[in-house]
């Protein structure tokens, strides 16, 4: 033993005293080259797929870039410049009309009122969406009860010296947001009640809830809007009229409530039975059990689902143009038919801008829902 460890023996050097550092992996197994070989050109079919894919991508990207940037018309007083250039977007049209896209036909002198409502909306929504901010209950109550009244007073006017603005003059992105936000805010309480009704042990309540939910989920939104605009006046006493926008809002709310109810029911089903039993053992009644024990947990679980409902409602607001309400999409369309600007590329430029607007809203909502999902760590549930 002493021989091996003695300096003279070690110098003979047939046995290593310490481990050799591992060699780096071969250059073609790591780094960008290996990534390219593995993820792009691993086999012959893979290579063909990659090349086909790249050519499709280049074709599409070039199509968009050349339309929107390279061949676009950037300056011009009216549609003449755009009518000469049929390869590219007509940006001066957007420059002239973007305020119409946002405010519709809302009187120019009164547009500050829309801005005020938008500011209040953002100021209430941002803290509501940030999990770290305290006082969620007050915030939510303000958002659900105070904001709609504030928005109605500000946009409608007629008091505090603000001239009244009829809903026929509301338009553009403003109306899209009004419909989407009202739809969500009003359908949430209705959806909660329906979800509770569907899980109720009382047969008649359950039956009505099921019929309501399945009815609205089974019909397309367009027929609902037709119903709201054609049938609702018929069911009201003669001489009583309801505003066109309000009719659409009622239709959208009743429709969304059914989807909301199904989302919330999913959350209710995920709450373990022990929670209900614990609350009952404490002697709490049904409504307080729901309000204080079950709903806070269930609603938290279904935030991603509620946000998804918001996304589809936001997209579905574009259908109100069919009953003659000028939302973002129909404002863009009717602006593009303006004789001064009409050209084959004007309407496509308008669609591009509208699509980008919808995309920004919906994409940020879906990112937010993924963020909440990760944060609540409900990923293991399906």
């Amino acid at each position: 033993m002493t021989d091996i460890t003695s300096p003279s023996t070690r110098s003979l050097g047939f046995v290593r005293a310490e481990l050799v550092k591992p060699l780096p992996p071969p250059a073609n197994l790591v780094g960008p080259v290996a990534w390219i070989r593995k993820r792009l050109f691993s086999t012959l079919p893979d290579t063909i797929l990659t090349l086909v894919g790249i050519s499709i991508a280049v074709f599409l990207i070039w199509g968009v870039v050349s339309f929107a940037i390279v061949h676009a018309t950037w300056t011009g007083e009216d549609g003449d410049a755009c009518r000469k250039n049929l390869d590219g977007a007509c940006w001066p049209f957007i420059g002239t009309y973007w305020k119409t896209f946002v405010y519709g036909r809302y009187p120019i002198a009164e547009r500050w009122r829309v801005n005020c409502v938008a500011a209040a909306f953002v100021l209430l929504l941002v803290p509501l969406a940030m999990p770290s901010v305290k006082g969620k209950l007050v915030n939510a109550l303000l958002f659900i009860f105070v904001l709609p009244i504030f928005a109605y007073v500000m946009l409608g006017g007629g008091i505090f010296g603000m001239p009244p603005v009829e809903t026929a003059y509301w338009g553009g992105l403003t109306v899209t947001l009004v419909i989407a936000v009202t739809g969500i805010v009003a359908s949430l309480p209705l959806g909660i009640l329906l979800a509770l009704g569907r899980r109720s042990k009382l047969p008649i309540i359950k039956l009505f809830s099921v019929i309501y939910i399945e009815f609205w989920r089974g019909v397309p939104l367009i027929t609902v809007l037709f119903m709201a605009s054609n049938l609702l006046p018929l069911f009201l006493p003669d001489g009583m009229t309801v505003d066109k926008l309000v009719r659409a809002l009622i239709g959208v709310t009743l429709f969304t409530a059914a989807y909301m109810a199904e989302t919330i029911r999913g959350g209710l089903q995920a709450i373990p039975k022990g929670q209900y039993e614990g609350a009952m053992a404490l002697g709490i009644g049904y409504w307080r059990m729901m309000a204080l024990v079950v709903m806070p947990q269930a609603l938290k679980l279904v935030i991603p689902g509620i946000v998804n409902s918001c996304i589809s409602l936001f997209k579905d607001t574009s259908l109100v143009q069919i009953v003659g309400i000028l939302d973002l999409l129909s404002t863009v369309q009717s602006s593009a038919t303006d004789a001064r600007w009409a050209s084959p590329t004007t309407v496509n430029t308008g669609y591009l801008v509208a699509a980008l607007t919808y995309f920004v809203f919906c994409f940020s909502m879906s990112r937010y829902s993924q963020f909440v999902e990760r944060r609540l760590n409900t990923g293991h549930k399906r």
Binding site: A57, P203, I204, E214, I222, F226, N230, L231
Partner: protein
């Protein structure tokens, strides 16, 4: 002992602890439900009463008698005979068939696109998975109506006039702002029946053959190329039927004249825009369903297959996909219903579907209640039928647990 004496005075104290009848949950339930029932009945009867008096005041007709009145409007596409003096009922039937046609094509193409995109998003190939991801994220965040209008107004309406048509296949396929014109082949005499008979026979033979092949494989282990033989049967028998019935057919090619095209089969641009938009939009949701379905099959299943010596294809076909289907099918049927419901957006571009025709009938006859009731009947009927079939399927294919 002290405890029992404290708890025992039930009899003496029972006056104070008496449960009042309004605190009895059963009675409360009855009252609540009674109130609900009363409220619903009240709301409905008031609505019906008001509607009745409103209709009387405006001297509007009632009932479905208007379906026999003459429609007097033209429809761009009719699958059944739609003469000039057709009735409203006939027009609504045409609309219903057009809805069904769009739904069938939309479902078919969206399923194909969705499965391709869903599998592509899971691909190891970075380019393919990125393209699939960009497609999904872009298309699902833009309203379907906008996409439909883009295809219709922005793409199909700015195609050249008929005289400058694109001709993907020179002389037989024309694409212009009036639609897509393709040659029409029609079979005369017994030939059509011969082909149909051959097709049915081929499908039946293929099913029987595949059952036999499975049974034989279970018994002896010997494999049989069931897929290729089945395909051959389904293709060959109609051809045989075609030949032995005399091969009578006529072709009708679209012919270009100065201003228009005549002959052939015309696919109207509204239909193309609708199917294109529905396919691309629904394909996204189907892709996500397929992706989550495949991801839901645990990787251990694939590893076990590889350990047993199955090839990649066999693993996918025999083990992964059958299990993924159990997760995929229920939301997939939901998407199929969505296609059917979303086809009602046709009204925005003027494709004569049920809602478009119904809207015209509603405006002309003023009978809103009846028209909307018909819409609801059709859409709810479709939904309820599908839901019932789905429940039956789910019960049949549920995982059998110990």
């Amino acid at each position: 002992m002290t405890i029992t004496t404290e708890v025992s005075p039930q009899s003496s104290d029972s006056q104070g602890d008496k449960i009042f009848w309004w605190n009895d949950p059963r009675i409360r339930g009855f009252i609540l439900q009674g109130a609900m029932l009363l409220a619903v009945v009240l709301v409905f009867s008031t609505a019906i009463y008001t509607a009745n008096s409103n209709l009387d005041n405006h001297h509007n007709a009632r009932g479905f008698g208007f379906l026999d009145n003459r429609a007097g409007f033209d429809l761009a596409q009719a699958l059944v005979d739609y003469p000039k003096d057709a009735t409203y009922g006939r027009a609504l039937l045409v609309g219903f068939l057009n809805t069904a046609l769009v739904a069938v094509f939309g479902i078919l193409f969206a399923t194909i696109l969705g499965f391709i995109a869903g599998i592509a998003r899971l691909s190891k190939n970075a380019v393919i998975s990125t393209i699939a991801m960009v497609y999904v994220e872009t298309v699902r965040n833009v309203p379907l109506l906008l996409q439909m209008l883009f295809w219709y107004v922005g793409v199909l309406q700015v195609l050249p006039a008929p005289r400058n048509s694109f001709q993907p296949i020179t002389g037989s396929v024309f694409l212009n702002n009036r639609g897509l014109f393709i040659p029409q082949v029609s079979f005369t005499g017994m030939t059509g029946w011969g082909i149909l008979f051959g097709l049915v026979l081929g499908i039946v033979a293929a099913v029987i053959m595949s059952k036999w092949a499975t049974a034989r494989q279970l018994r002896t282990g010997a494999q049989f190329p069931a897929f290729w033989v089945g395909l051959a049967l389904i293709l060959a028998l109609p051809i045989i039927g075609f030949v032995i019935t005399g091969a009578n057919y006529t072709t009708n090619f679209p012919i270009k004249s100065t201003f228009n095209l005549s002959g052939g089969m015309r696919v109207i641009p509204e239909f193309m825009a609708l199917v294109l938009a529905l396919t691309l939009y629904t394909g996204v949701f189907i892709a996500e369903i397929v992706r989550s379905g495949i991801l839901s099959v645990s990787y251990g299943q694939s590893e076990a297959c590889h350990a047993l010596g199955l090839t990649n294809g066999q693993t996918l076909r025999l083990v992964v996909i059958p299990q993924a289907m159990r997760v995929i099918i229920p939301p997939l049927t939901n998407q199929y219903l969505n296609v059917t419901k979303n086809s009602s957006l046709a009204v925005a571009i003027g494709y004569p579907d049920l809602v478009y025709v119904g809207g015209t009938v509603l405006n002309q006859s003023g009978q809103a209640i009846e028209v909307i009731a018909l819409w609801m009947l059709v859409y709810l009927g479709t939904s309820v039928t599908t839901a019932t079939l789905m429940n039956w399927y789910n019960q049949r294919n549920a995982i059998v647990e110990r």
